[in-house]
């Protein structure tokens, strides 16, 4: 990663009089009917650049970035797998680009069929009955799922269910989504092995609990074996089971959330189904439900009319939880996921989970002599070290993570889950080769040795990245959030 740092902003390249566009003037008469007081007082100050300058700017800027195509991204809970190129080709079809969301259903049957096909495939993989693809991201899917649960209880006149149970090891989005959906949170504690204590859960289940939110495997990468019992207890108490699909990847070909007793789930297409993260988005967080809950799914909804043999878009339904998006979600992201599933096929999908599990266990078992493994046993897609085994050096998880950057690897997820002080969470995914894993293992071992021999060097990491130790405090105390503030 030792290269020159490109630091210009596009505004720095602006010169008065340059332009990067050409528009046809169709010669319509100039209309000045908008009253002056409804117009801007002055024009916005935007860059003025020509096309080649702009292309070179963003190309240079891209070299400051690390992506999955650049190198290994062992980022726990984020499933940074390879993003196939054919998916991009398919999703950038000009016929789709030109398709307006308000086009009548009879003119967009192929587009609706793609939506419905993906909905069916996700149902098969999740063990659910029906999916909506409308939510825009994982957190948005959680919110949608909880609103579906809310609508279900409301529909049954069960209005005193105002609380949601969330494990202390949950992704931070779980409690936040529950709060936005109008619920308060009841936390259940994890046991020593990171799994939920069914007895503790039982003591917290009553007729005020709307749902139990879980992810399985959980955030320390362990499978919750007691899940059938947990689901039974929750259902007996009248609560629904919500599956956070952030950790679905290792379950491909292995198990289905629907078979575990979950009622509602979301899937992060940008994790399990290979759509690119794009530096933060656009993603997609489809939500699936078991039989009996379909009517609460959000609108708009794509229904197949068996009489006419046509797909229809249902924009309003009194049973529906409501609208969560303007249209049918991040549609081109959905197409990429569909292309991925069809490319893998049933057999390929069934290889993904097992190989993801193999890669994770391989790294874990190659490093657990030097890094502290707080939870023994087979992990699934990811696992957590509680920092280095040797705590005497003062080298922390943050230092290890930053030192990895010097070696051309992205950092693992750090300081999450909150169960351990020095969490270092590693998820390799199935698309990394054994050679890459061996290189990573070698580097992790080297860092452990370095921590013992030259701890100050590790603490000063990264040493070789073009940007080093940005001052977070300065950024927060004196926020400079746009060009004018520089």
């Amino acid at each position: 990663m030792n290269r020159t740092f490109y630091s210009s902003l596009i505004m720095d390249l602006s010169r008065a009089g340059r332009r990067g566009y050409a528009l046809d003037d169709h010669g319509f008469e100039n209309d000045n009917s908008i009253p002056g007081h409804l117009l801007r007082d002055s024009a916005p100050i935007l860059p003025q650049v020509d096309e080649p300058t702009l292309v070179r700017h963003y190309t240079n800027l891209s070299t400051n970035n690390f992506g999955v195509d650049t190198g290994f991204y062992p980022l726990g809970s984020c499933t940074m797998k390879y993003n196939p190129k054919i998916n991009e080709e398919i999703a950038s079809d000009r016929r789709i680009a030109a398709l307006h969301p308000c086009q009548p259903a009879e003119t967009v049957q192929g587009a609706l069929r793609a939506y419905d096909r993906l909905q069916h495939l996700l149902s098969e993989i999740g063990g659910m009955t029906r999916f909506t693809l409308n939510p825009y991201a994982g957190a948005h899917g959680e919110l949608t799922g909880l609103m579906i649960i809310h609508a279900y209880h409301d529909d049954h006149g069960d209005l005193k269910r105002t609380r949601v149970i969330v494990p202390d090891s949950a992704h931070g989005t779980n409690p936040a989504s529950a709060a936005v959906a109008g619920y308060s949170i009841v936390e259940v504690k994890s046991r020593h092995d990171g799994t939920i204590d069914p007895e503790d859960l039982k003591s917290k289940l009553d007729d005020t609990i709307a749902a139990v939110m879980m992810t399985n495997p959980n955030t320390v990468g362990m499978f919750e074996k007691n899940i059938p019992e947990i689901a039974r207890m929750a259902h007996e108490a009248g609560a629904l089971m919500y599956y956070d699909g952030a950790n679905l990847n290792p379950m491909l070909g292995v198990a289905r959330p629907g078979d575990m007793g979950f009622d509602v789930m979301h899937i992060n297409l940008h994790k399990t189904f290979s759509t690119p993260h794009g530096g933060g988005g656009p993603g997609a967080g489809p939500v699936g439900v078991r039989a009996g809950l379909e009517k609460y799914l959000p609108c708009p909804r794509v229904d197949f009319n068996t009489v006419s043999g046509m797909y229809e878009v249902v924009t309003d339904d009194k049973n529906s939880m409501g609208h969560i998006s303007s249209w049918l979600g991040n549609y081109t992201v959905e197409l990429k996921a569909l292309a991925y599933i069809l490319s893998l096929g049933g057999q390929g999908l069934a290889q993904a989970g097992p190989l993801a599990i193999l890669n994770a266990n391989y790294i874990k078992d190659s490093l657990s002599d030097l890094y502290l493994l707080p939870i023994e046993g087979r992990c699934k897609h990811e696992f957590v070290f509680d920092g280095l085994k040797d705590k005497s050096t003062g080298v922390t998880t943050l230092h290890v993570a930053k030192r990895l950057l010097d070696h051309g690897f992205h950092a693992p997820t750090i300081y999450f889950p909150l169960l351990f002080h020095e969490s270092l969470m590693i998820e390799p995914t199935e698309t990394e080769s054994p050679e890459t894993l061996d290189r990573f293992i070698a580097v992790m071992r080297e860092i452990a040795l370095e921590a013992a021999n030259d701890p100050d060097k590790v603490k000063d990491a990264p040493l070789y990245t073009p940007v080093r130790h940005p001052d977070d405090t300065e950024a927060a105390v004196n926020p400079r959030l746009n060009y004018r503030s520089l």
Partner: protein, 444 residues
């Protein structure tokens, strides 16, 4: 087993790796999963497709889609998309990156988000913008949540009836479950927010904020003279929804005195893409900076003294605040902010003004020509519009117009009622296309 082309493992690799893990078969690695929970039968999903078969599959799907000349808007507009943007956005360093949590190796993402935030501030006139939200409708819902969070003890939000349907529906969903008392401000016969009614709704002093739109759901540019003052004197916030391209021409949210600007930014050069991905933007006054949901990128200095960028004000984010968070958003529309920044840089203020001028001129020409056919009349005569307007059909249903249009390869607009159509014109619509639409009406 022969693994799929996306997986590097050979059978020998698998054997060697299992050996390291003290296992003999892959299934040993999930022996802890109870038998009854394991996948009982292979997925009912066909065998994997080659690239050529995939192409053929999608080609067949997309052949079952009818391309139409687009006069639909309703929040998503068929503007020109510069070729270079698609190319830049496909660069894998941008495309395949995660959220920029490691600033040392993510300056590319951080910097284009900073550029985007800066340009959104210029467009809205407000002090700070976030790194984006999902779409215009969810951004509006976030504005509502923010009003309530900022007001602390108030739980009532006003929403103008002139905000577009999809956005109103999403805001109502968030309000219903979050337990916010959402009241609709009625609209007048002239198709704009009833400001007198709005002022009366402030009487009880319990309104956290009010949300408006301009251009509104009828395409009308609203006049908000005095609105911010009325709201602020009752300690309520003003939020204004505008589709981003229009901000290049119209009186800005800041100039109207709004505290929050939100809206859909798809109109900044993004294809309509069957509704997504679009881009939700949000900008606020400095006073509200720390109440703003979502990610924010800020400038700072690194150990080498360089100006660099980091995610900042993160303590407000859901992954740290958990159930105390006032929003659950933990991502943004990432790459689409690059799209918006590159578009605005290519167009500049002058180009954006030209897009608005050309769209406006085309829309006004069409509005007049349609009235002249005698088949429609202006739903709101004399009201100022930007690039979209509503008409009332005379003696014919809106459905029949749409149907006849499809036969001629035209999407005549969006049906808003049995005899109403909302019609949008962008700079891409040629005189020939506009004539075809006029002739379509004449033929009915």
């Amino acid at each position: 087993m022969n693994t799929h082309r996306y997986f590097p493992h050979t059978p020998q690799d698998i054997t060697r790796m299992l050996d390291r893990c003290g296992a003999t078969a892959l299934s040993d690695l999930w022996a802890d999963i109870p038998e009854e929970l394991r996948l009982k039968h292979p997925y009912d999903i066909p065998a994997g497709l080659s690239e050529d078969s995939l192409r053929a599959y999608f080609d067949a799907l997309m052949s079952d889609v009818k391309p139409l000349v687009c006069f639909a808007g309703n929040g998503f507009y068929d503007h020109y998309t510069p070729a270079v943007i698609q190319d830049i956005a496909r660069r894998s360093e941008f495309l395949t990156a995660y959220t920029p949590y490691q600033p040392e190796i993510s300056q590319g993402t951080l910097q284009y988000i900073f550029e985007y935030q800066s340009m959104i501030c210029e467009l809205t006139g407000l002090d700070v913008a976030n790194a984006s939200l999902y779409d215009g409708s969810t951004a509006t819902a976030e504005a509502m949540l923010m009003c309530v969070a900022a007001a602390r003890k108030r739980n009532r939000v006003l929403l103008s009836a002139t905000v577009n349907d999809a956005t109103r529906a999403v805001v109502a969903t968030y309000a219903r479950y979050h337990g916010i008392n959402l009241d609709i401000i009625p609209e007048t016969d002239l198709g704009v927010t009833d400001l007198e009614a709005m002022k009366k709704m402030l009487d009880k002093g319990d309104v956290a904020g009010a949300i408006f739109a301009s251009p509104n759901r009828h395409g009308i540019i609203e006049d908000f003279t005095g609105v911010a003052d009325a709201l602020h004197s009752s300690k309520s916030l003003m939020a204004l929804n505008t589709h981003a391209s229009a901000l290049g021409l119209l009186h800005t949210p800041a100039e109207w005195g709004a505290d929050i600007a939100i809206g859909e930014a798809q109109s900044l050069g993004m294809p309509v893409n069957f509704g997504g991905p679009g881009l939700g933007y949000m900008a606020v006054t400095k006073a509200l900076m720390r109440k703003m949901p979502g990610r924010v990128v800020g400038a700072t200095t690194d150990a080498n003294g360089q100006r660099v960028f980091v995610l900042t004000l993160q303590a407000r984010e859901q992954h740290i605040r958990r159930e105390k968070a006032t929003s659950n958003i933990c991502s943004n529309q990432g790459l689409m902010t690059l799209w918006a920044a590159a578009y605005l840089a290519l167009m500049g203020a002058e180009g954006l003004a030209e897009v608005n001028r050309l769209s406006h001129n085309g829309a006004c020409a069409l509005r007049k020509a349609l009235s002249d056919t005698g088949k429609v009349k202006d739903a709101f005569p004399g009201q100022p519009i930007l690039n979209e307007f509503e008409v009332e059909t005379i003696g014919i249903d809106a459905d029949a117009v749409i149907k006849a249009g499809i036969e001629q390869g035209i999407l005549a607009g969006v049906k808003t009622d049995d005899n109403r159509l909302l019609i949008a014109v962008t700079e891409r619509r040629t005189p020939e296309q506009i004539n075809r639409l006029v002739n379509l009406f004449k033929s009915l």
